[in-house]
């Protein structure tokens, strides 16, 4: 691909972007929704990385969470339920110059989107994936999601949800080529920001599960966690995600080497605490967009190559 064609001009971009420059129309989530915090942190992240608005793309599916792109002043693709990843892959695969983010809800990603999720992780395209996990179907009004706690009462399972929840990180870590897998929470913006920054540095698909408050339907689930910071276990490592504030704020801290896949998987079975931080990172896995980049050809070269093809088929 001729990437020079993708630049507006040869001149270096001298604009400086403030968080507010990324601000779109007012968000329309419920008061207290954790998505507000993620949105605000994302704007700060965009500022800190100085990502060029017109070179930045947020792709989403359908759900409360999927409204995310509407509220940013970047390019956005509010797609269909469960299918954000293929759209993002298509965009990124041929446009390496774009910074592509994927925003999904828990139903969006782990239920209807499960196939794309598994394979999205395996492709390891250079994308940052935010899973906004409120343990419920928000937009459709409180149905069980794969991450809803067992016995939790919902509109489709009013006798209490039947199944043990899926652990999005455990599933991700079972997939070949998983290369960056982290967990954070909307109510710890410093940690969220640090995680997004680490993801931005990572070459490959960064999968970030964000515990997200939904005061409307699952207030009790996340509230408990917000109110008992001691339930959190901050994962530290020199190759992990570090934020001094967070390290001070939370009592429980543990060292975890993100290169240790077995240890990362074992962490997903932890019941005493909720680990926040980088579970796993592997910088050595090729990314799909690079694998498939291909050479650039001019129109003339292409036409010449077509003639060679015609020769093959000549009578």
């Amino acid at each position: 691909m001729d990437t020079s064609l993708l630049d507006i001009s040869g001149a270096p971009d001298e604009r400086v972007f403030k968080a507010n420059d990324y601000k779109g129309p007012a968000a329309r989530w419920c008061p207290g929704c954790g998505d507000f915090s993620i949105l605000a942190t994302t704007r700060r992240f965009l500022e800190s990385e100085q990502l060029v608005p017109e070179k930045t793309l947020f792709v989403s599916g359908i759900g409360c969470s999927a409204r995310f792109p509407h509220y940013l002043k970047t390019y956005g693709f509010h797609g269909i339920h469960g299918r954000a990843l293929p759209l993002a892959l298509g965009a990124k695969m041929r446009r390496p110059d774009l910074n592509v983010f994927v925003v999904m809800g828990d139903g969006d990603c782990t239920s209807i989107g499960a196939g794309h999720w598994i394979h999205g992780v395996r492709y390891n395209t250079n994308l940052t994936v935010l899973l906004l996990d409120n343990n419920i179907y928000g937009l459709t009004k409180k149905q069980t999601s794969p991450t809803t706690p067992v016995k939790y009462v919902t509109n489709t399972q009013p006798q209490g949800s039947y199944l043990n929840p899926l652990h999005p990180i455990a599933v991700t870590l079972g997939v070949a080529n998983a290369s960056f897998v982290a967990q954070t929470a909307d109510w710890i913006p410093a940690h969220l920001l640090a995680t997004m920054k680490a993801a931005q540095k990572h070459k490959g698909l960064s999968f970030i599960r964000i515990l997200q408050r939904c005061p409307k339907w699952t207030v009790d689930i996340m509230d408990a966690k917000v109110k008992t910071p001691d339930e959190m276990m901050i994962l530290n490592h020199e190759n992990g995600i570090t934020d001094a504030k967070v390290q001070k704020m939370y009592k429980n801290q543990m060292e975890h080497d993100p290169s240790d896949l077995d240890a990362a998987r074992a962490l997903t079975d932890m019941t005493s605490h909720i680990p926040l931080g980088l579970f796993y990172k592997n910088e050595d896995i090729p990314t799909y967009d690079e694998l498939r980049r291909g050479k650039d050809f001019t129109t003339e070269e292409k036409m010449a190559n077509i003639e060679i093809e015609f020769d093959r088929f000549a009578v």
């Binding site: 691909m1 001729d2 064609l5 993708l6 630049d7 507006i8 779109g24 129309p25 608005p53 017109e54 070179k55 793309l57 947020f58 792709v59 359908i62 509407h70 940013l72 002043k73 970047t74 390019y75 956005g76 693709f77 509010h78 797609g79 269909i80 299918r83 990843l85 293929p86 759209l87 993002a88 892959l89 298509g90 965009a91 990124k92 695969m93 041929r94 446009r95 110059d97 774009l98 196939g115 794309h116 598994i118 394979h119 498939r292 291909g294 050479k295 650039d296 050809f297 129109t299 003339e300 292409k302 036409m303 190559n305 077509i306 003639e307 093809e309 015609f310 088929f313 000549a314 009578v315």
Partner: protein, 636 residues
């Protein structure tokens, strides 16, 4: 020649003597034959070789694959049949033609399968290896007899060929040699240029040791020699030396090359017959064009990737067939709503459901038109020749981009696996897609700035400064802002519909083949064109006032169809899809299920259009259609 080649009644060995058909040398303007074997015995190579050899000599040619449903099914079963049908002509050949006049069969079971699908003419000359009739395994002999019994209802002319015996004189594994012997036999019968044949063989085996080529040349000559010795007839189809350079390929390859010529950059797909081979072709060569075949996790992922790439400004297509098409419906709806250009190739196969995966059918027209919930105006086009498969790719890309819409291309197994020569296209640089527009956006313009008259608007592509907005599948206004108001919903619907209508105005009225007026007008679409026009020509040669109209555009319809129809007494849509037999029990004018084009023309144009639709899983035979025309001509 034996008319009752029952193994048990007489020794087959005696039959390997000079065959007396009394036919002598005959000249034809065209002639059709088949070569069939068990899967793995190479009849396909033989037949394709015969076809391209003929094309090289300057004959018109059309070959059509005969593919078994399983990969390598048990040998000597009807389901194991693999082969090729070849029609050669003095002039251009536009379709596979009628039932064949000659067949070389490697055993009686594969022959039986061709008999059962009515592929053989009543007086077909059958060259068959008779070894099975005297096989030491009595079960085989019994199978032979049963097959002969079943086929005895037809007046086939039987010729026993020592196919395996002669082959074994030259090579050790007859499975790998009989086909070249058979090619030799065909070369004699059709008086082919042996040097070209030999060159072709040398070319095909150029990467193998010389001994392989030598053995194959020997087999070819043995076949020729045997035929010269034992057959008393030849079928001569004079060749017209080509006046221009030709290329020869199948419809899927033509689509692939057309995509290259159109500058399409991404082919996102999930394997499915009969579309896959298109991606196989592209996967082989795309590296030389900077293109990517993305094999997705499923058809939904495939169209998603294509749409994402297209949204980001690269031209992309997705290709599929039947069951895969079903899975793309939701994304098509999004593409239409968000007005993102997209090209979708649907190589139709027999349905419904898994249906007849390798067979010809034209049953997806209504599904493509109406398969998405809500209102989804779009462009639907159907190439009618393999050459059109090439050129239509540029057309489709340009329409998709200009109208910001989905362009469906409807092909089928007839085009996808048919092989025919056509004029080598003269490439033009303007066919290629340009790079995505990355110029800053005019501050006053909006992402859906519909021209209220035409419904057209210009999209913003990521990277364009000042164009930031979020596309959405929800209803939206000119700014791409979600909007639930009646006026805006009506407007957006109207704009999406209007642009298709406006595009329709730019199309030419279709021109009937045959005459401008008359007793009957056959209307067809897609791969049946060659067969229909040939049938019409034959009907006119008989003095019938028949014509045909072939539609390339199914949505929007070309203007002027009604006007053409008014000049004919009877209109009959002919399609390879299902329609109720009007004479079947319980079927009335009002409840009859009609063919899909018939339904469309009646609904859209209120034309009293009759419907002839069948689902044989095979291309339309001109002779069959001729009969249909004859019986439908209004009585004076």
């Amino acid at each position: 020649m034996s008319t009752s080649p029952s193994a048990s009644s007489e020794g087959a060995q005696e039959e390997y003597v000079k065959v007396i058909t009394g036919l002598g040398d005959q000249t034809f303007t065209d002639h059709s034959c088949e070569v069939v074997s068990d899967a793995g015995e190479g009849a396909q190579k033989c037949g394709q070789g015969f076809g391209s050899l003929s094309a090289k000599m300057g004959n018109g040619a059309w070959t059509v694959e005969i593919i078994p449903a399983e990969i390598e099914p048990p040998p000597r079963t009807p389901g194991s049949t693999s082969g090729v049908g070849i029609r050669i002509g003095q002039n251009k050949v536009t379709n596979a033609g009628d039932s064949v006049k000659l067949v070389i069969a490697f055993n009686e079971q594969v022959l039986l399968s061709r008999h059962r699908v009515n592929s053989l003419a009543d007086d077909c000359i059958i060259l068959i290896d008779s070894k099975w009739s005297v096989h030491k395994n009595p079960k085989v002999v019994a199978e032979w007899d049963a097959a002969m019994e079943e086929m005895s209802t037809k007046g086939y002319q039987w010729i026993m060929v020592p196919l395996e015996d002669e082959t074994l004189k030259i090579v050790e594994n007859p499975k790998r040699g009989k086909n070249m012997f058979a090619l030799g036999v065909l070369c004699h019968i059709y008086d082919r240029d042996v040097e070209i044949a030999k060159d072709q063989i040398a070319m095909a085996f150029r990467k193998k040791p010389q001994a392989v080529t030598d053995a194959n040349h020997q087999l070819l000559e043995a076949g020729i020699a045997w035929a010269a010795e034992n057959l008393d007839f030849r079928f001569l189809v004079p060749a017209t030396p080509p006046t221009s350079e030709l290329v020869v390929m199948n419809g899927n390859e033509a689509f692939g090359m057309g995509a290259l010529a159109a500058g399409i950059d991404v082919c996102a797909m999930y394997p499915i017959t009969p579309a896959s081979s298109l991606s196989h072709y592209l996967a082989e060569v795309y590296d030389n064009f900077g293109g990517v075949v993305h094999q997705a996790e499923d058809e939904i992922g495939a169209i998603g990737v294509a749409l994402g790439a297209s949204y980001a400004g690269k031209t992309a297509m997705t290709i599929t067939s039947g069951p895969g098409l079903a899975l793309k419906a939701e994304f098509i709806g999004l593409a239409l709503m968000a007005e993102i250009p997209l090209v979708v190739i649907n190589v139709q196969r027999g349905g419904p459901s898994t249906g007849l995966p390798t067979k010809v059918e034209q049953s997806d027209l209504l599904c493509v038109l109406y398969g998405q919930p809500g209102d989804g105006p779009k462009v639907v086009i159907a190439p009618s020749t393999i050459e059109e498969c090439f050129h239509i790719m540029t057309t489709a890309r340009q329409i998709a981009e200009t109208l910001r819409t989905t362009v469906f291309i409807l092909s089928d197994a007839n085009l996808a696996t048919g092989v025919t020569p056509f004029e080598r296209p003269k490439l033009e640089a303007s066919w290629m897609a340009g790079p995505p527009d990355q110029t800053p956006v005019d501050p006053d313009s909006r992402p859906y700035e519909w021209d209220l008259d035409t419904g057209l608007s210009k999209r913003f592509i990521p990277g364009q400064r000042g164009g930031e907005h979020t596309v959405t599948g929800l209803n939206h206004d000119e700014n791409s802002t979600v909007n639930y108001e009646p006026q805006k919903n009506e407007l957006a619907h109207a704009m999406r519909s209007r642009k298709i209508a406006v595009f329709g105005e730019t199309l030419n009225a279709p021109i009937p083949h045959g005459g401008d007026e008359g007793d009957i007008l056959i209307i067809g679409w897609g791969s049946t064109r060659g067969s229909i026009e040939e049938a019409v020509d034959r009907a006119r040669a008989k003095g019938l006032k028949a014509s045909s109209l072939h539609l390339t555009f199914l949505s929007p319809l070309q203007p002027g169809i009604s006007a053409v129809c008014e000049r004919f007494k009877k209109i009959l849509a002919v399609e390879i899809n299902y329609s109720d037999d009007p004479d079947a029990p319980h079927i009335t004018k009002d409840n009859r299920r009609r063919g899909q084009l018939a339904m469309l023309l009646r609904g859209q144009l209120l034309i009293d259009c009759g419907s002839w639709g069948k689902v044989p899983g095979a291309p339309l035979q001109p002779e069959l259609l001729l009969k249909v025309i004859e019986s439908n001509i209004p009585k004076a």
